[in-house]
Symmetry: D3
Subunit: 334 residues, 6 copies
């Protein structure tokens, strides 16, 4: 199985214990994350080969970040060091009707000032057969957009699969590029679309509803507009409150529509990175299973991520498979 | 908007992490609280101007208490220092069918030995337009009762609003005063009644049920017996167990009865001070909104408090308002 | 009331905070436990007299273990010291559909190498009127089996009650003895059977279902095969997921069948040792109440254990009784 | 070897981690202590038999205190429970030229309200051959003084050794009794004097200097004034600063003067209870060794206590003996 | 006594516990600091009136920063909020021959983008009689330099004392301004110089040695070049290693030279902010004492700061005074 | 520069915070270590290429161990998994005259049951040019001895450098092999001897003193007895107490004797693994510098290790070099 390549910012997440706010305690904990890195580490935890490409700071924080990535067995040889500090995000974890809140310190980070010359794509992709990107990276800076586009172009030339999670986060796009145009350019270089109605409406300028019928129609429209796209996978979250969600998935692969049952996540431990866990499950699954089983694997992986602290999914293939086989009662493993 | 004045004991709360008992771990954490202080800090967190009046110990614990109050922007200039230690309460947090348990060390505290000469009400009330009291303070000592009564009298003379939360806690009344008599004296100096059937029955010697009809009748009786009282606000808690409550509110303001919908608090983080959060929401709301909206604001504030650790409500107006607008799904704020 | 004697391994349990995995944090916490010790400590917490017999390491870990047992008032005078290390188990706590996972380091522990000469049963039983054993002990080593059998034999000779929790854990039986044969030998020395359909089927080689009818029939069969057994108590767990269980109990005492209502444990804090809490409640109850009330007491004790961290039940008789009286709403105790 | 009986208040000590102040962190840790209890636990850690007599609160804090004492194997059967809260002291740990600071909350504690009827001395002393008291207990309340005097009287009648550590702490004596008179009454019931020039000057009203010559003269005077006193042991502390002390001891036993070398404590971990560790070492030593060796044992025990966190000395006899044999280089024990 | 005004960046300091590196543990703690803020809080802890002027982020981190400053009683009414994140610095604490290491994330912080229009100096200085600045602020950005110069100019017009700590940190000056020129402009607006040979050589372009003679000559030269400067105070640190320093001070006030004895800091707890503690002691002292006593107060304050965790000095006037009176043995305060 | 190969047991170290004992707190922390692994990780932290060979448990603890090793960039591809648990050691950290104490649980660990077939030396050594072993490995089991000897033999055949740290720890040798014989066999396959008089006396059966003259004579004898050995390096530790050591080194390389100055480690943070840090510094140094500089590098590395928590040296080459250049004052790095 070839290597999955992820490219994106590494962020340090800092948060108080439990549901505390920063105003309440001087003791906090940190994790590293970043949407594409989360995907990469999760795939590595499934046993897949992964390389993550990024730029981190040239200090002990950057050292700690690389060390953190290495400990999951992800290849860090294409991560470059920069004089700029690593991006940071602060998190206060909500509960019930209180939302979790995030504050970013990333706009002049080591990754945001990445320049095309810093990434050697020829070398980076040498063992790769899959490249994954998200809508966060092109939003960060012109440099990030340019490098990403260069990588996608080369990946497609080499016949690699390119998965896109074109999340659109309005607050990030500050360097002048039009978000819609940017995403359209990049989607033309992608083959698997991981996103839902919101993302499709964003790039098509349409107004589809969340119904399954609309999802199918929208997916067809998307594939017409972007002929490289072969499959569309959507994850649907139903939030009772901050602590209790349900997750299901659906897909259109050009031939058939499928959807999974709801998985009931009654006591959420940490919802950060659950979308990335879905993408990771999908990529790992599509490399090994048929589309429908890949979607089910992704959906179970996503649900499981809600039970791990931190940004990355620590679930193994056995743990995901147990859920697919109906073992959701959480019986003690001795 | 004038300053809200709160008067009452400051307690240090000490509790093990999570659901541990003191017998289990030598690591514990502390907060400061106290029913009237909780109201004051919560209003300050909404952006209101607040002064808290109390007596704390003349040592580094009293220093820490004042520092804690100051950090929320509450005016501490009328807090006096005493040779007696600060009151302490120990808390073991329950879950599901296990109740939380509290043990007090407050009966000879710095506040309990407060003397009328220690509070200069003329100066303390100079910027105030609202004075809030609860049934805890008159229960503590003759000195506390006397100062409270003196303050309420002056406040009424100056035309200030006086809100009463006449909680009756049997275990506290030890200095000889008859609780019912004491509360009756003080309620004659109050204009807003924050309490329910239990409190009304207590002071009227009646036996009303929890039904809405009885609530209206009882409120009318109360207002007849205490002509200064203009409005009655009641908070109703339905406890499935220690970890899962529902909250709603109802009111009778002499003209109309209103009640809110239940708010479902499926995963309680900390229920201490939730009644105080209701009172705070009400006071803040009545200073700014109509009675019904104030009640709804108070109810949402109370529900939100269940998601914050410690005794005080850390919610902002925006967070409360989001719930009033129906955003209870706890969607991540970036 | 005579002393309850428990005999079994003491294990050190080490686990990360919250739902973390060992890979995530270098800070962990430890408890001591062990299925029979859990029973003993729980009975001591109810106020019963208890002696625990075991072999622990002759180092500061064994010292800490004895100290831990002493702090609950359990008699440790029959615990011997050994050159071998104390058994350890590592725990990662799951949530929702993620199971908790345990990894043992116990196969050459101080207890596993216990030898008959190390326990002086005559002295150990001198104040005892009840001896409790589980299926874990005979699984550990020939020495453990031999000492247990010697103790049971003496206990029966002295007319003591012998309760058996013949849990069968396949992974443990490694020293050559046939599990079924071993359990049969020991059950012939027992008077109270704490176990369900699985355990009965295991020793009888039958195939009964979980229905109440089958439970009664199976219990009768069991009592026929093991004439010393007078009563059968079964605990039934319904797991929605790792975080949410329901518990009920049923019994056949040779004369009547009874079952309790489900207790709904909506937010599990720690499920380790909940079966032991049931056994402890039963033993304590049977020493004081009729069979049915003992079962109800045991069921409530078991439910309460889910709210305490660590392996042992910290509930008091008052707390259990409150549940039996229907107070499951977790109202704050001041 | 007969049981050593200690009688005195049990305090809960609460302090922030490291050198933090309460104003700096909400995470704190607690220990239990109390000068006489510290002596008792230390002797138990040496392997001696010890009973501690006290009054603790009738809540989960008192429960935790008893549990804490039990875990060291000290007999708690004569500890009574009271409705009053347990005494608390707060500690901020200094360093270098910053002194540690203590704030007490003990003046209306469970122990301070102890009454003679609460202690059954006949029963309490049944296995005892040594009773130890300090100047803290008679300072607390009339009840504490009365019970102590009653116990000392009975102990002397039974021929027990009575050791006195007549520390005089001015701030404590508030109930009206004259400190000097009280100490004189009690010293007439004592046989071993553990104290130095300050304590002797206090009770004799003399003005001796710290010189060895004066120490001998003062000791002789003391023994003349209090004929029951047979031996005087003094511990001399030289403080470079909060973090670096030297300790030595000297004695006059009516026949000879001896003194030890300085022990250099270059990195103090916790100096609370080091005087109690000296007394404990002395009592343990005098029960087993000659006077001079007992003093040397006490001095080494005292030095070692500076390396343990909390109020009690956790050193074993082997660890103390190693120092007496000159092994002060702290070589790793594997 | 008039208010002391401090103006400068507020930084969040994040560091692992003890001597750990970020690579070693996910648990860290944070403080707030900043060289001028440290001075301000320290003066407030001595009981002085202080206002701090700054720009902090408009998120929960900025909220926590303001709350942190408020808790020491420092006036935060002139702190403005900005869309940019708060500056952060990461610290790994060394020991012995390992230096502590700092990594900054401050170059695009909320303070660095401060603009003159954001500070209303007329209002800010209304109660002030002393303004303190350091060489950090003009190094940060043109905006910071401009506002500082504007404030100094107004302060001098109003006859306020202006103290300068013209620390020169090469790595910070990135916006184009020549450091030497900038410092010269600002020193012409200053009256008290807090700095040593290095700082004097820097602005005069001289090459004086550390000898007292050279210090006097250099100070005279400095006062000739900057006629507004009336006094020069220098702090001399002798570092045996990261854990053990000695501190002394010297002064030239135009009339006399004085120096203090070395204070021996044998076990450093935290050396960050010790220079700021010196400046704070000096400002507080010069407002109240003669020059020499102010210097001695400053020197003792500086030494004490090494014993507090975090960036700010928590010492009180009593604690500093005790050292001046020779009480450096760290005797326990009860 | 070729890869350094280390082969040896990986242990999990568990210890309470600070100077606590296990009896005092339920919160502990863990690290991974092992004498040869410590050497490997330290070299990796200097930037060298390292592969560690071992057998770890097939559970989440083994997973965490591999992850821990990976995070330092050490190649884990030759680590095998076993059904046996990972070895554990418990540590209580002493201070001043209290020694640190270790208790092992390693005698049936995953590594102890390693079998020759489990290590493929041909593959493992493919990039290696240096193999390091210690006296711990051959002490553990016949399997460990056999594999080690097989590896050394192959390494010598391939012309690799083989460094030996023949520490002799009596307590470990339990499987029957004579320690002296074993070490002699292995030393005949070694080229660099890292050890002192004790180790030389052990294998030669001699009785040399610690003097430099004896060291030279002993080294010559050793090289005569083991012609493969080319160089001898010795580290000399002077322990004032547990918290304060001095370190120096000396060498005989067949041609010249050299020794370093003492490095004064006034405040030890963690002394575990300091010998391994010396070996690592030596190996790294000998690969790059002349013998004398390598020894100085090793000595400084060893001293620095005393300032890092955990078993492995986290120092970088820059940090070691700074000490060699005389920068031992621990000046803050910004």
């Amino acid at each position: 199985m070839g290597q999955v390549i992820t490219f994106g910012e590494v962020l340090m997440r800092i948060s108080p214990w439990g549901n505390k706010k920063f105003i309440q305690s001087n003791v906090v904990e940190f994790f590293f994350g970043g949407t594409e890195l989360n995907v990469g580490i999760s795939i590595a935890n499934f046993g897949g080969k992964v390389k993550h490409i990024s730029a981190v700071s040239d200090d002990f924080i950057g050292e700690a970040a690389i060390s953190y990535i290495s400990k999951f067995g992800v290849d860090t040889s294409s991560i470059v060091r920069s004089k700029r500090p690593l991006g940071v995000y602060f998190l206060e974890v909500g509960a019930v009707m209180r939302p979790s809140t995030i504050s970013y310190n990333r706009s002049h980070s080591s990754f945001s000032e990445i320049k095309p010359v810093m990434v050697n794509w020829d070398k980076a992709l040498v063992d790769g057969n899959w490249l994954h990107w998200t809508g966060i990276t092109p939003a960060i800076s012109q440099g990030a957009f340019d490098i990403l586009k260069e990588g996608l172009t080369l990946a497609r030339q080499q016949g690699m699969t390119v998965s896109a999670d074109p999340t659109y986060r309005r607050g990030l796009w500050k360097y002048g590029k039009d978000p819609k145009e940017a995403l359209i350019e990049l989607l033309h270089l992608s083959t698997v679309f991981i996103g839902g109605i919101n993302e499709i409406n964003e790039v098509l300028g349409t107004d589809y509803s969340y119904s399954n019928d609309d999802f199918i129609t929208a997916s067809k429209e998307l594939m017409k507009a972007f002929p490289s796209i072969e499959k569309v996978f959507d994850k649907i979250r139903t939030s009772l409150n901050s602590s209790w969600h349900k997750i299901r998935a659906r897909m259109w692969n050009g031939e058939e529509f499928k959807e999974t049952e709801d998985l009931d996540i009654t006591h959420i431990v940490d919802r950060i990175g659950t979308g990335d866990a879905f993408a990771a499950g999908l990529i790992y699954g599509l490399q090994r299973f048929d589309d429908c089983k890949a979607m089910e694997f992704a959906s179970a992986a996503c649900a499981l991520k809600h039970t791990y602290e931190g940004d990355v999914n620590l679930a193994t293939v056995d743990e995901v498979t147990a859920i697919l086989e109906g073992n959701t009662s959480g019986r003690l493993n001795r």
